[in-house]
C-alpha cells in the first residue's frame, strides 16, 4: 500500500491571518501550495516569523488561537480538511495526520505517565485497551529506540533526556499509523549528535511507514541533507521550491541565495554575508516582498505581485529574474584571518568549577592561553562546562582550584575583588539580548554605565557623545539613545550589548553563545561586526558556542570541550580539517553541511 510518490496531502492556495486587537486581519501566510508524497520529506525553510508554523498548523486545519484561515484547500485523500467540523477533524487528527511540536519537553504532558499518554490515542482511534494496548505501546517505544520500554511506560516525561523525549513524542505521533506527519522544528535546541540520531531515525520511519512528511525548520543545512524536496518561505509566501539538491546548488531566488551565503560552514573558512534590513511583518501583495532588501531589484519588481514560475524542471521561484540569478556565483569569499600578537594576554590554568549538589565538577582542570588580539573558540555540547568556564574567567563563578592570570597578574576569584583596571579589560557579551539588557534602562543608560565606571578619559559632559560614537561603530541607526530595549529587534539589541562591551575599551572580550538566539542572516551581520571591531581595536575574543561552524568562521584557534575537560585544541584550520580526537570527529560528522567536502 505504500506507494512512494502517491500524494497524501495536497495543500492549495492556503492563506492565513491573525486577528489584530482592533479586529482587522493581519495576513501572514498567502497562497501557499505544496504537496506531501508518501515516503518523502518536504522541508519548509525560512527565518523566524516568516509563517512556517502558521502554515504547518493551518494545513491540518488547526486554528491556532486568534488565527483565521482565509482561503485555500487542504485535501487528505480527496477530503478537504479545511471544511470539516471539529468533530470530524478529531477523528482524523492523531489517526491519519500527526503533528510533532518543536519542544517535546513542552508538548508532552508533565503530569501523565508516558504509558497513559500513549494509551489515549490507541483507545480513541484504534479501540485498543488493556494488554493489546500495552503490547502496542511497548512495540512503539522499542521501534523508536528507547531502552527498556516497559519501564519507560511508567515514567513521567521529565524523567527522560531531551532526545528521549523527542523519541517519545514521535512514538505518540506514529501510534495510530498516520499517513501524514507534520514536524515543526523537532530537533531545535537539541545537541548536534542527538539531532543527527533523531533525523536518522526519522528518515527510516518515513520510508518504512510510507509517511508523507512536512519538516519545518530554520536550518537550511539540515533540510538540505534530510529533505527530498525543499520550499523556502519569505514573508508568508513560498519564494522557491524544488528538489532539495537543486535548490541548494543553484538558487533561483535572491533570498535563498543570500540565506545560503549567511550559513557558516565547518568545511572551509568563509565570510558569512548578512542580509541588511528586516522582513515585512505581513504579506506584501502589490510588489515583490523581497524588493526592499534585494540587491538585484528592478523597477519592474515593484509593479505587481510576482508569480511563482517554473522553467520546466520542477524547480520554481518567485522572481522575475530567476534565470539570471541562477547563473550568478555564490556570495561569500575567503575570510580574513585574525592576526594574533605574540604576547600572552590571558592564562588559564587547572580551573576546576563545581556546583553544589551536582554529581561531578562542571569544569575539570581546564587550562589554555589567549594571546593579544587572538580569537579563541570554545565548542562543546550542552553541559560540557563551557559557559561555566567563561563565567569563572569573568569573575562570576568562584573556581574550586586553578589560577587565572591577565597580563601575568593573578586575578581574584570574584569580580568585586578585582581591581578596577582588570574589570575594565575583561568584558562580557551574553547569549540572550532579551535578558542581558535591563528592560527598564534606556540604550543611553546601558552603554554609558561602563563609561561612567571605567573611562576616566571621558568627562560626564562627553558621555552622550561617546555613546553615540559607539552606537555608530556597531552600526546602529541614529536616534536610538532614548529607546528601551523592547523597542529594538533582536539583532539590534545584540549590537547594543556589543557597544556596551566595547565602551570600556577592553583587551579581552568574552562571548557566550552571542549569536545562537538569532536568525542566520542576523548572525552573519553580528559575526562580521565582531570580526571587524576586534580587528580594529586589537581586542582578543574568547568565543563560546555549541556551533562548530560559527567557531570555524570567527576563531583562529579552538578548544573542544567535553564533560568539563578539553579534549582537543588547535588552530581552526588544522582542527577542522583533520580532527584527531574521536569526539571531535563525531561532532563534525553529525553536523549537516551545505558545502561539498
Amino acid at each position: 500500500m505504500t506507494v512512494r510518490g502517491e500524494v497524501v496531502l495536497d495543500v492549495d492556495g492556503l492563506s492565513v491571518g491573525y486577528v489584530r486587537r482592533d479586529g482587522s486581519i493581519n495576513t501572514v501566510v498567502d497562497s501557499v501550495s505544496f504537496q506531501l508524497e508518501r515516503g518523502t520529506i518536504l522541508g519548509l525553510a525560512g527565518e523566524s516569523g516568516c509563517g512556517k508554523s502558521t502554515t504547518a498548523l493551518a494545513a491540518i486545519s488547526y486554528r491556532a488561537p486568534g488565527s483565521r484561515i482565509l482561503s485555500g484547500r487542504s485535501q487528505l485523500q480527496g477530503v478537504d480538511l479545511l471544511g470539516l467540523s471539529t468533530q470530524r477533524l478529531r477523528r482524523i487528527w492523531g489517526s491519519k495526520v500527526a503533528y510533532v511540536a518543536q519542544s517535546a519537553a513542552l508538548a508532552l504532558n508533565p503530569a501523565l505517565t508516558v504509558g497513559r499518554q500513549l494509551s489515549q490515542p490507541l483507545a480513541v482511534h484504534l479501540g485498543l485497551h488493556g494488554s493489546a494496548s500495552r503490547a502496542r505501546q511497548v512495540e512503539l517505544l522499542e521501534s523508536m529506540g528507547l531502552p527498556d520500554p516497559a519501564r519507560a511506560l511508567r515514567r513521567y516525561p521529565f524523567q527522560f533526556s531531551g532526545g528521549q523525549q523527542q523519541r517519545v513524542a514521535l512514538a505518540l505521533a506514529l501510534s495510530c499509523k498516520p499517513d501524514v506527519l507534520i514536524l515543526d522544528e523537532p530537533t531545535t535546541g537539541l545537541d548536534v549528535t542527538t539531532q543527527a540520531r533523531i533525523t536518522k531515525l526519522l528518515r527510516g520511519l518515513v520510508t518504512d511507514f510510507g509517511l508523507g512528511c512536512l519538516y519545518v525548520s530554520h536550518d537550511l543545512a539540515l533540510l538540505a541533507t534530510l529533505a527530498d524536496r525543499l520550499a523556502v518561505m519569505y514573508a508568508g509566501e513560498i519564494v522557491e521550491a524544488g528538489a532539495a539538491g537543486a535548490v541548494v546548488s543553484k538558487q533561483r531566488h535572491p533570498y535563498t541565495q543570500a540565506l545560503l551565503a549567511a550559513v557558516p560552514s565547518v568545511r572551509r573558512p568563509r565570510e558569512v554575508v548578512g542580509i541588511p534590513g528586516r522582513p515585512p511583518t505581513s504579506v506584501v501583495l502589490d510588489a515583490c516582498a523581497y524588493a526592499p532588501r534585494c540587491r538585484y531589484v528592478l523597477p519592474a519588481c515593484r509593479t505587481g505581485r510576482v508569480a511563482m514560475r517554473d522553467p520546466g524542471d520542477g524547480h520554481a521561484a518567485r522572481c522575475i529574474r530567476l534565470e539570471e540569478i541562477e547563473k550568478l556565483p555564490a556570495l561569500g569569499s575567503e575570510l580574513a584571518a585574525a592576526r594574533p600578537g605574540r604576547d600572552v594576554l590571558l592564562e588559564v590554568d587547572g580551573i576546576v568549577c563545581a556546583y553544589t549538589g551536582a554529581e561531578g565538577p562542571a569544569v575539570n582542570g581546564v587550562g589554555f592561553v589567549v594571546h593579544g588580539a587572538e580569537r579563541v573558540g570554545i565548542v562543546g555540547e550542552s553541559g560540557s562546562g563551557k559557559s561555566t568556564l567563561l563565567r569563572a574567567i569573568a569573575g562570576l563563578h568562584r573556581p574550586q582550584a586553578g589560577s587565572i592570570r591577565l597580563g601575568g597578574i593573578e586575578l581574584a576569584p570574584t569580580a568585586v575583588k578585582r581591581p578596577r583596571s582588570v574589570r575594565r579589560e575583561i568584558q562580557l557579551v551574553f547569549q540572550n539580548p532579551d535578558s542581558s539588557l535591563n528592560p527598564r534602562h534606556t540604550i543611553l543608560d546601558i552603554v554609558a554605565r561602563p563609561i561612567r565606571l571605567f573611562r576616566d578619559d571621558v568627562p560626564r559632559a562627553r558621555e552622550r557623545e561617546t555613546v553615540q560614537e559607539l552606537l555608530d561603530a556597531v552600526k546602529l541607526p541614529s536616534g536610538l539613545l532614548y529607546r528601551y530595549p523592547a523597542e529594538l529587534s533582536g539583532g539590534q539589541r545584540q549590537r547594543v550589548a556589543l557597544a556596551r562591551a566595547f565602551s570600556a575599551k577592553p583587551s579581552l572580550l568574552l562571548c557566550d553563545e552571542v549569536t545562537s538566539a538569532l536568525d542566520v542572516s542576523v548572525q552573519a551581520t553580528i559575526l562580521e561586526l565582531i570580526a571587524e571591531l576586534s580587528e580594529q581595536t586589537q581586542t582578543a575574543v574568547v568565543w563560546v558556542s555549541h556551533d562548530l561552524a560559527v567557531v570555524r568562521t570567527i576563531a583562529n584557534r579552538a578548544l573542544v570541550m567535553r564533560d568539563g575537560e578539553v579534549c582537543e585544541e588547535g588552530e581552526t584550520d588544522e582542527l577542522f580539517a583533520a580532527a584527531r580526537h574521536p569526539y571531535t570527529r563525531e561532532l563534525l560528522a553529525a553536523i549537516p553541511e551545505l558545502l561539498p567536502a
Binding site: I426, F430, S435, A486
Partner: protein
C-alpha cells in the same frame, strides 16, 4: 521615514513599532474600565472620609440629639442610633481609622518585608534560608488569630493594630518580593552588573528594583484592600476603635442590635465600607490584570 543611516544599509524601519517601557502603574489603572470605576468610587469615598468632618449637621458624638433609634426623617436623614446620636454625622466622620491604619501598617510591612525579601533572594545561602524560614513560620499562623491574641494580651490601641497588621503582612509581601527578585536576578543584565563589580546596593536599586515594581505595586494595592477589610472587621468586633468615637465598623455592630427598628443605622455604614472596599479592590484588580496580562491564549477545543 526610512532614513538610511550613513554607516551601513540599515534603516530606521528596523525599529519595531512596539510599546517600549510598560506604562506607569496609575496609567495602567486608568486604562481599564474596571480601574476607572474603582478610581471614581474611591475618590468619592475618600472625599467623604477626608472632608466629611466639615459638613456634619450635628456634633457626631452628641448624645440624645434626636430620639433613640429612629428611622430616617427630615431632621435626621439617616435616623439616629440607640443613644440618639445622628447617624449621618457619625457616618461623615467615621471612615478615617479604617483607611489610615492599613496605609501605615501595609507601607511598613512593604518596606521591611520588601527589603528582607530582596536581600534574601539576592544573597541566597544561609541569609536567604533564615529569612525564608522566618516568613514561613509567621505565615503558618492564622492572621486573625494572631491579631486577636495580641489584642487579648495587650489591649487594643492604634499602635497594637498597626504592629500586628504589619506582622501579618510583612512575610506575605516579603515573599512576593523575594520571588520577583529571584526571577529578576537570573537575568544576564544582573550578571553583567556583577562582572562590572557593582556594589550590592547599586545592583539591587539600579538593576533589580525597577523590574519588580510592577508586581509589587499590584500586591501593595491588594494588601491595602485586605487590610481595610481587616481593620473594619476588628472595629466591627469591638476590638478596634473605642467608643464614643464614630467608626463605620463599630456603627454596623451597634446597629445590628436594632436592625429591625432602624435598619439604616447598620446598613448605611455597611454600604460605606462596601463601597470603599469595592473601589480599592477594583483598582488592585486592574493593576493585577495589567501585571499578569499577556500569557498564552487558550487552545481551541
Amino acid at each position: 521615514m526610512t532614513t538610511t543611516s550613513d554607516v551601513v544599509g540599515l534603516t530606521t524601519a528596523e525599529v519595531v513599532e512596539e510599546e517600549g517601557r510598560p506604562p506607569a502603574a496609575w496609567r495602567a489603572i486608568l486604562a481599564s474600565t474596571e480601574g476607572r470605576i474603582g478610581v471614581g468610587i474611591g475618590a468619592a469615598v475618600l472625599f467623604v472620609i477626608i472632608f466629611g468632618r466639615f459638613f456634619t449637621p450635628y456634633p457626631p458624638n452628641a448624645v440624645g440629639i434626636g430620639g433613640a433609634t429612629t428611622g430616617p426623617s427630615a431632621a435626621h436623614l439617616l435616623g439616629t442610633d440607640s443613644l440618639g446620636r445622628d447617624t449621618l454625622s457619625r457616618l461623615l466622620v467615621g471612615g478615617t481609622h479604617i483607611i489610615v491604619i492599613p496605609l501605615i501598617a501595609v507601607s511598613l510591612a512593604w518596606l521591611l518585608g520588601g527589603t528582607l525579601g530582596m536581600l534574601g533572594a539576592y544573597r541566597g545561602g544561609t541569609v536567604d534560608a533564615v529569612i525564608a524560614r522566618g516568613f514561613d513560620l509567621v505565615m503558618s499562623l492564622p492572621p486573625l488569630l494572631i491579631v486577636l491574641v495580641a489584642i487579648a494580651a495587650l489591649g487594643t490601641s492604634n499602635l497594637v493594630l498597626v504592629l500586628t497588621i504589619m506582622v501579618v503582612y510583612l512575610p506575605r509581601m516579603g515573599r512576593l518580593v523575594r520571588g520577583a527578585t529571584q526571577a529578576v536576578i537570573t537575568n544576564e543584565y544582573v550578571a553583567a552588573a556583577q562582572a562590572r563589580g557593582e556594589r550590592t546596593r547599586a545592583i539591587l536599586f539600579r538593576e533589580v528594583l525597577p523590574n519588580i515594581m510592577a508586581p509589587t505595586a499590584a500586591d501593595f494595592a491588594l494588601r491595602i484592600t485586605y487590610a481595610v477589610i481587616f481593620v473594619a472587621t476588628l472595629n466591627f468586633l469591638g476590638l478596634g476603635v473605642k467608643p464614643p468615637n464614630a467608626d463605620w465598623g463599630v456603627m454596623v455592630a451597634d446597629g445590628r442590635g436594632y436592625i429591625n427598628l432602624a435598619p439604616l443605622g447598620t446598613l448605611a455604614p455597611a454600604a460605606a465600607i462596601a463601597l470603599l472596599s469595592i473601589a480599592l479592590n477594583l483598582i488592585a484588580d486592574a493593576l493585577t490584570q495589567h501585571v499578569t496580562r499577556g500569557g498564552r491564549e487558550i487552545v481551541p477545543l
